[in-house]
Symmetry: C2
Subunit: 410 residues, 2 copies
Amino acid sequence: MGKNCIVAQSGGPTAAINASLAGVISAVNKSNNYDKIYGSLHGIQGVLRDEFLDLSDATDDFIERLAATPAMYLGSCRYKLPDYREDESAYKNIFEIFDKYNVGAFFYIGGNDSMDTVAKLSEYAASVNSGIRIAGIPKTIDNDLLVTDHTPGFASAAKYVASSIREVAYDTYIYDLQSVTIIEVMGRDAGWLTGASMLARNEFSFAPHLIYLPEVAFDSGQFISDVQKCIDKFKNVIVAVSEGIHDADGNYIAAGVASEDKFGHAQLSGAGKALEYLVKEKIGVKVRSIEINVLQRAAGHMASKTDLEEAMSLGAKAVEFTELGETGFMTVIKRISDVPYEYTIEYSPVKDIANKAKPVPVEWINDLHNDVTGEFERYIKPLVEGEVDVFYKDGIVDYLPVGHLVKLNN
Amino acid sequence: MGKNCIVAQSGGPTAAINASLAGVISAVNKSNNYDKIYGSLHGIQGVLRDEFLDLSDATDDFIERLAATPAMYLGSCRYKLPDYREDESAYKNIFEIFDKYNVGAFFYIGGNDSMDTVAKLSEYAASVNSGIRIAGIPKTIDNDLLVTDHTPGFASAAKYVASSIREVAYDTYIYDLQSVTIIEVMGRDAGWLTGASMLARNEFSFAPHLIYLPEVAFDSGQFISDVQKCIDKFKNVIVAVSEGIHDADGNYIAAGVASEDKFGHAQLSGAGKALEYLVKEKIGVKVRSIEINVLQRAAGHMASKTDLEEAMSLGAKAVEFTELGETGFMTVIKRISDVPYEYTIEYSPVKDIANKAKPVPVEWINDLHNDVTGEFERYIKPLVEGEVDVFYKDGIVDYLPVGHLVKLNN
């Protein structure tokens, strides 16, 4: 009998993270080197608690439905391992469990915090001469991981955000009066998803007319001037802003509008709401703000086919690379060409990726700081291509039940 | 040559109002009685301004794409005609334009305000012995029109709201901690759309665990007690609330949290935000509020096939009824049975419908006032059935360009 594998998920949900899980399960079940595949519930915490689902008997139908189910089948955690040189206890627990289950490889699907866990576990494994392979598989709608061309989950969120903005634009065009609609998009420190809103444009609709990213300073005076110009030209103006826009001193625009609730607590309005107030004050036309909120990371019904296929491959390739003896890596997408879109999947040392972030290059933001450039467009365009089959039951979008709930309810 | 027709749209956008327009165009173009069909831009204002699109040459492909395009192809207005006995001037202008275009019938697609226009125009037509037929075609996501079983646009919004809530529920299930998510749904005076959120439930997910409609008084103390019980039982709790919930004295809950922006203006938070603050104060678990906002009425990508088919039929039948000599009516859906779902399309005097509203029957709300009943479920279930083909271009949802922009840009 070969060794077994454990897979877990961590960080915030996306529409693609279960596709990577599906890729891992599928590859292990086809592998001649590995035997069983266990899913750890709630990230690395499931290992510490000895809480697993045996996924070895997953059918093709299960894997297909899993890949198209958003959020996290195994549940998530926000858990940071200490430095093992200062506190070894958690590591000892984890590797005891690894031994108990005869584990040959551990796969962690997540963002840069999760890659910190991968880096620390692989470093500890080396220090105790463990042969267990530790591999990371990227995901985050923020698209802010280093080395990889982009991250699974990002393109599906981009497809949803751009499609929703196009629909909202249609909604604003119906009235014969001036209006401003501000749409707040996720991504506190990186503007990738906000920039992706440019995909909403076509020859008939120029929305979003203005795009503001957190990589450059936001100037309220310039913003009002930008909006006024667009009102004069387009009448109905759509603005996409990152939740994390801030002024030249680093103060979040969201925090600029501090308000008190009826209990006297200070409440922070979002960036979109803050700009809504500003437009109302300075320009006075009809104005509305929309926070797309978690809908943008949960919308499995509008996943990018390209995204889900890449996510599956990143999971499956991680298994293969461990079979070749690799450890302490994250699988990465290397782009070969934009048109036709071609890429390969490689691996890269996780220590160079963990705890770091990749912002939108400033050269991909226009000089006026109110739009993205053609380079951004060339980068994003191929990633949102393709649609996946959407399952409906009784007229409502239908997904695989959440695995950890099924288990815990049994 | 036969007489010509004019069609216009009014009120707020929905995913189905262009399907009714498609139904009117299609029926007129097939009619032996009518010749041309003109689309009035921005509702009745387009008649007053003599601004029309000639839709007589619409191809089958155009009509198919039009039916699947959300918002309003012809644009909208918020225009209320005066009583013609007090001020006849607008009526004279309108009927002069009707004569200029040799109009035999005028079709107005809209909600109860728009039906006021239909009622007044038909009353005026009778008073001047005009033979021009005036017909109303219903639409509103609020589903609050009298006589008709339901209104086009409602079921598509319901399908989107329930599907989005199911996705948000998955998003909340990932963490192993207690949380409350409050989702604010449109419908200030009628809770139909909020009640429809119950369709998000299945055997694996009970979200939304609590539903609050504006038809009954909202009690904050009872709400906190309801939420606490659900946290104890389900850990992750989803609450659906109408934007218009109010206390026993009629005070909106949304207005309960008055806050000031940095310019000292009082700002009203929505009902969802108000309840978010209340849960934070009284219970203290992780809490988030989500306002689905205009996305719920603009999401053509998740239209109900049943809804769009009914909307088309209501438009086409309106043309037929005028050919039979009827005027001053609105087409209505009469339900024959729930299972299998069967209905017919009839017509009803518009004066009995205009300016009135149909709330959710109080018997369809449970005794605890925190859920809807099985009657509500039987009513809503068939309406969201079926999906329509969604067009994508370059990976983004694609629709017919907005007609009045195409015209005005030319």
